[in-house]
Amino acid sequence: MSSHHNDKATFLERLIFNNRPAVIVICLLVSIFLFWQATLIRPSTSFEKMIPLKHPFIEKMMEHRNDLANLGNTVRISVEAKDGDIFTKEYMETLRQINDEVFYISGVDRSGLKSLWSPSVRWTEVTEEGFAGGEVIPQSYNGSPQSLDQLRNNVLKSGQVGRLVANDFKSSIVDIPLLEAYPDPQDQGKLLALDYQKFSHELEDKIRTKFQEQNPNVQIHIVGFAKKVGDLIDGLIMVVLFFGVAFVITLVLLLWFTNCLRSTIAVLSTTLVAVVWQLGLMHFFGFGLDPYSMLVPFLIFAIGISHGVQKINGIALQSSEADNALTAARRTFRQLFLPGMIAILADAVGFITLLIIDIGVIRELAIGASIGVAVIVFTNLILLPVAISYAGISARAIARSKKDANREHPFWRLLSNFASPKVAPISIALALVAFGGGLWYSQNLKIGDLDQGAPELRPDSRYNKDNNFIISNYSTSSDVLVVMVKTKAEGCSRYEAMAPIDQLMWKMQNTEGVQSAISLVTVSKQMIKGMNEGNLKWETLSRNPDVLNNSIARADGLYNNNCSLAPVLVFLNDHKAETLDRAVHAVQDFARENNKDGLEFILAAGNAGIEAATNEVIKESELIILILVYLCVATMCMITFRSWAATLCIVLPLVLTSVLGNALMAFMGIGVKVATLPVVALGVGIGVDYGIYIYSRLESFLRAGLPLQEAYYQTLKSTGKAVLFTGLCLAIGVCTWIFSAIKFQADMGLMLTFMLLWNMFGALWLLPALARFLIKPEKLAGQKGNSLFAH
């Protein structure tokens, strides 16, 4: 079985193995520098990186960003009374203390802070003399039953039910606008940027924990972009823990596999070096760690281990023949460097195709992963054999591998039946059925995020529970599509603009999946009604420009400074792709009919607008990515093996995996989204390794003149264990993500685990069956062949 390597050393091999100390020293120096770089890397969550900046929706949103500013960054704390309603002395006192406490948290825009205790929250009513009004909680409030009764009346008259006060009067909200940058308390001249994580922790400690302990009858719910980002960063940090878990499991498996502490340490440490280099280089090139690129180190670790295992396996096999560790390492290098390179190139090609997706985080993931696999060439294909050439492999491990090489393996013998003429047709038939079934079921696959609430976090996370509480108790929805209505300066309050806006709102409200819509027209109608003594007969737009101008005076945030842009906020039931599509199409139809000089209806802002844009980009990219990645992988195989049959044997099992992966996503209710789109490319890119390793061995045994089934048995005996182990390593590396608090990381983990395991299975099961039909062993036998591996 060791018959097919020759002893002629290549230039590269001589360069490396004749200068082993230099290789070690250079790697050490590079590692020190990159380790220093890696320690500087910081978690960064940039909003802009997660969205397709080139999409017209997003371009328009960015263009009008300043005009939409005050729609933005607020946190809402809902204080719930567990027993009874909010009209008790104790509840109101806790609410007052929370209001005061929030006031002093850094980053809060104090002037905009709003709760029942704010003087700006007023009630109004129409009397014979005119409008009357006052603070909802008057100066005379003292907590007595009378003043609580008065408070209840004031709340009813304030119009805050459904906004600051829950529809069931069992909770009320503290509304906190945030400043992205606020003056440093020490040095008023300096501006500090809002630290979302710190802010989120302060809310937890100073508000939630403190007041829930102080008043056991209240429950606190917090929602808002800042809180969500804070929770995401916390989730990121937990991922480091997963890395530790994956590391320990891998260590144990490696020990079991190699039976040798020295080589285990060698593989683990060179792989860690790869991870450090990758992180260092990421920072060196100016990237941070976001929730997506956070996963690259796991991938690199897993890929590094799998190549290391191939190397160790090879060296152990060689050691049984070679006199010393150096010779064994050199021979292994000679034998495995090329397939290793090809496999890594295939990985890199898979990653690089992701660059065509116009979303920052995916591009960074692609760049990070490509850098990572490039690094593996140095660490695991070069540094590892050099290191082993010094350290050697334990005698016990060599003895075992010697024994393994000679004894009969019933398990591999059994598996080799996959190549038998009886089993192969059944396998092919089964695969066809699975392919057809998968294809049929994956019709249910949806685009976009399918869960309620913040899709980044798990549906049962505290944030999403809080969010559900607020959605169900207040008249608001968390999925908002914003249509920007652009007019000439001072044009937004003209009847010619407001009447069409009103029409648009009604059209949207009549669109399935839309809950409600608000804009300056909503405020205007209410004000006009108010100016007419609350008479419903006046609740409509006036043609009188003065009346209209006056009516929007208090519609803060619903038009910009020079009245040239007015957002229409469309609240949706959910953010499923069909809901977004319907809403977007309704707006586009309306815009086509009503856009004219000086009046434009522009899509889109709001979280639903961003998601609609993202979905469009993903829908466009999905097929392209799939075609590209398969084209690249197939080309790689063609170059390597110069054979259609070989290419089909390797690629077809991957296609089955992709189809079944889609079916699994449909079954699990995971949509195609920013997080799951890369999985296709990653899965195929990494999955092709198995096929390349197995087929290259199989071919060499066929050339040696063995019949197919026997050749496959020999292949399994030599690399089967390594392939099996590789599959496990990769799966373990990514499956820890399934437990991530961040929903999309969990989805990625689940899908990658499935694809990596199934790719391995496909390579072991389907590849030999296909070979039975596609390859004529008698043609190959004795031939030198023209593949890259034929020396």
């Binding site: 005119g130 009604w506 009549n510 008479n535 419903l536 007969k537 043609r543 420009p545 009346v547 929007i552």
Partner: protein
């Protein structure tokens, strides 16, 4: 009693024509720059824009509801006109050539009916409310018509904002502005017009203004009303010469002599005097009177308006008008559309 008014009291803009002043004041806040050029909407006849048919129409703002024979007809926002032939269980949207807010509807029999609304529009139907045609509109007014009354198929009167009173004697083919028949120097809004049993026509309006006519609207007498605040409606009771006028903040007055003298009717809700504005009323076949208003107020009298029981619906929605469903129930319209209610105004129990 009524609770003390705390905080601030600002001068009420009595009518939109005075709004310009207020607008100037408010613009000091810097939010809005007034555009001075008044662009009158063109009066040229554009192709008719029909109200959009929508299943949500019955849940949108509805302002008035009346009977056309046995059929119920309701009008409201965006040119929505709905009719029901099954006591309000299901509603059909009529074909209406406008998208403006309609404020009142009146039928003389089961076929002939008229509706008024913003842009001073008057619509007419000759098929019991299923289809409608525009008879009149006046965009330059920049003001709505607020109520309409017809004596028969040919003679009718409509009232509206800024003292508008217009008349037809040919079933609405032509309309004539007869506002100067009223002594209404300040051009107070005229909110409602009604015929009082065995007496004549009665108009109520802004700032307690009242007018009566004994000759079907040819001549009008101005009355000194009992109340300074705005009156939103007026209705005849089953007794001759006896009527109710109602308006802001639960104010309800009763006269037994066609408006010469008035007495306030006290409305006591669960937590003291009713404070909500009253906007619509109906006289049921058995002589009972139902008045509805803001805050889900439904007040009912079984003694020709001498005393009332007060009910506030828990949903607190603003109600605009009421009529009998035809089977003992009531039809309420207002915010949130049309709804069927028990004779007390309470929500029907779900079967």
């Amino acid at each position: 009693m009524s609770e003390p008014v705390m905080g601030w009291v600002v001068c009420r803009p009595r009518a939109a024509r005075r709004v310009a002043l207020l607008a100037t004041a408010l613009s000091l806040f810097g939010a809005v720059v007034l555009s001075t050029a008044v662009q009158a909407a063109s009066d040229t006849t554009a192709p008719a824009v029909f109200a959009i048919e929508s299943p949500k129409a019955a849940k949108g703002l509805m302002i008035d509801v009346v009977h056309a024979g046995k059929r119920l007809v309701a009008v409201g926002d965006r040119g929505h006109i709905l009719y029901s032939d099954d006591q309000g269980s299901t509603w059909t949207q009529a074909k209406v050539p406008t998208r403006q807010l309609l404020t009142a509807v009146f039928f003389t029999d089961d076929k002939q009916g008229w509706a008024v609304g913003h842009d001073a529009q008057i619509l007419a139907s000759t098929d019991g409310g299923a289809t409608w045609a525009v008879q009149y509109q006046d965009l330059k007014r920049e003001a709505p018509l607020l109520d309409i009354w017809f004596k028969d198929a040919s003679h009718g009167l409509a009232v509206g904002a800024y003292g508008a009173l217009i008349e037809t004697t040919d079933g609405g083919k032509t309309w004539e502005d007869v506002s100067d028949r009223l002594d209404n120097e300040d051009q107070f809004h005229l909110n409602a017009i009604a015929r009082i049993k065995d007496a004549g026509l009665f108009i109520v309006g802004e700032q307690g203004s009242m007018f009566r006519s004994s000759d079907d609207g040819q001549t009008w007498e101005k009355l000194e009303g009992p109340y300074e605040g705005s009156l939103f409606g007026v209705i005849s009771t089953a007794q001759p010469q006896t009527l109710l006028a109602y308006g802001l903040r639960g104010n309800l007055y009763r006269s037994t002599d066609f408006g010469s003298t008035w007495e306030q009717v006290e409305l006591n809700a669960a937590r003291g005097a009713l404070e909500f504005g009253l906007s619509g009323a109906t006289l049921l076949d058995d002589g009972a009177l139902v008045v509805v208003g803001n805050g889900g107020s439904v007040v009912v009298s079984h003694d020709d308006g001498l005393t009332f029981s007060v009910f506030n619906r828990p949903d607190r929605i603003s109600l605009s008008a009421v009529t009998a469903a035809g089977n003992g129930n009531l039809i309420l319209v207002g915010q949130g559309g049309v709804r069927v209610a028990k004779p007390t105004g309470a929500e029907l129990e779900k079967q």
